[in-house]
Symmetry: C2
Subunit: 210 residues, 2 copies
């Protein structure tokens, strides 16, 4: 890649990260191009080369949501789906880019957005794991993988939103654990449920230290 192009990409990433921090702290409306530029330490020219407006930046932060987190490795199927849900919870607690992206996706109507793409991409990820789970004979008869993937994504969104508003996401791991207790009986075969690791990773660590 030519040096100039590389530098341009780096600037874009710098702006996105700075914008995420500013949106995360102040919300969309209290954020300003000026605040973002100061935080990113880029010139006005460098900024406007990539983004024409605050809304442009916010939309990019939402659109790039998938790129802000790496999914945990492992064989596709129900266990990886559960591991992913805890991994995303941890990222929501610690990763400012992902957190800001999710917040803007939730509050997007405040800047005129009406775009479910960021949500649908998670439903697609979950769907992939459910297709694998079906092939491994982990799912109950009659479960519609696409419908459940979409419901899981929507339900998870609500759980993280409520955990955010009520506890600043401090109880998010426990809330995700509850989600699985209430969802699995409808979708996973009984003998599969008993073989799955359902606790949040941090609690597993705490347990094994005893």
């Amino acid at each position: 890649m030519p040096k100039r192009q590389e530098r341009a990409l780096r600037t874009r990433e710098t702006v996105l990260r700075a914008a995420a921090e500013v949106f995360d702290e102040h919300g969309y409306h209290a954020a300003s191009i000026r605040l973002i530029m100061d935080r990113a330490q880029v010139t006005q020219g460098g900024m406007y080369f990539h983004f024409k407006s605050k809304r442009d930046i916010a939309e990019a932060v939402v659109a790039d949501q998938q790129s802000f987190v790496e999914l945990p490795s492992g064989e596709d199927g129900l266990q990886r789906l559960i591991d992913t849900s805890y991994h995303l919870a941890r990222e929501l607690q610690e990763n400012v880019l992902f957190r800001a992206s999710v917040r803007l996706a939730v509050e997007q109507q405040e800047f005129g957005g009406y775009d479910a793409t960021a949500y649908d991409e998670w439903a697609d990820q979950f769907h992939r794991q459910l297709i694998a789970a079906r092939a491994r004979n982990e799912l109950r008869f009659g479960v519609d993988e696409r419908e459940f993937a979409t419901f899981l994504m929507a339900s998870y969104s609500g759980v993280q939103l409520y955990s955010h508003i009520s506890t600043g996401r401090r109880d998010l791991m426990q809330k995700v654990a509850a989600l699985w207790r209430y969802l699995l009986p409808a979708v996973a075969r009984e003998e599969v449920i008993t073989s799955l690791r359902l606790s949040p990773p941090s609690l597993v660590r705490a347990d094994s230290a005893v």
Copy 2:
């Protein structure tokens, strides 16, 4: 009640309804005191007697959420809980006060809010039905009524939010029906599930017309 007090209460309600319409159409930030006053057709004096700022009005619209909907009648228990979930879905589609209140509760961080009360009040309502369900022997052994009430509320919030962003809530009834299919097996006794009316009321009407 003295006439003057009655009139004041009526003004407050008029302002809240007008504000709900404006917030529903424009969102919090694009709404203005001026827009709300014009819509309500109240004087500046009448307005400021009740509310000092736009944020005051928005907080009142969120705080009064429970008063904007009447719950369906019926004996307390799982059936009434399910009926309530469909009733709220219909209200979200048709009742602008309730809809605006829910939207502001979701986007409250945009005006500095960090208050889970509106969410918790729904969890309390659901909890009441689950306590009754337990007394009627409808719940499975080991279900924690408080934990499930909170999870149901959070999950429902996410389902309505995604339905809002993806279809303008046109598919909300179907989404709520899916929610119950995936939640009931974990909480309701098997013989109870088969005796419950699980379809959305509108679909029931359509069916019975065949």
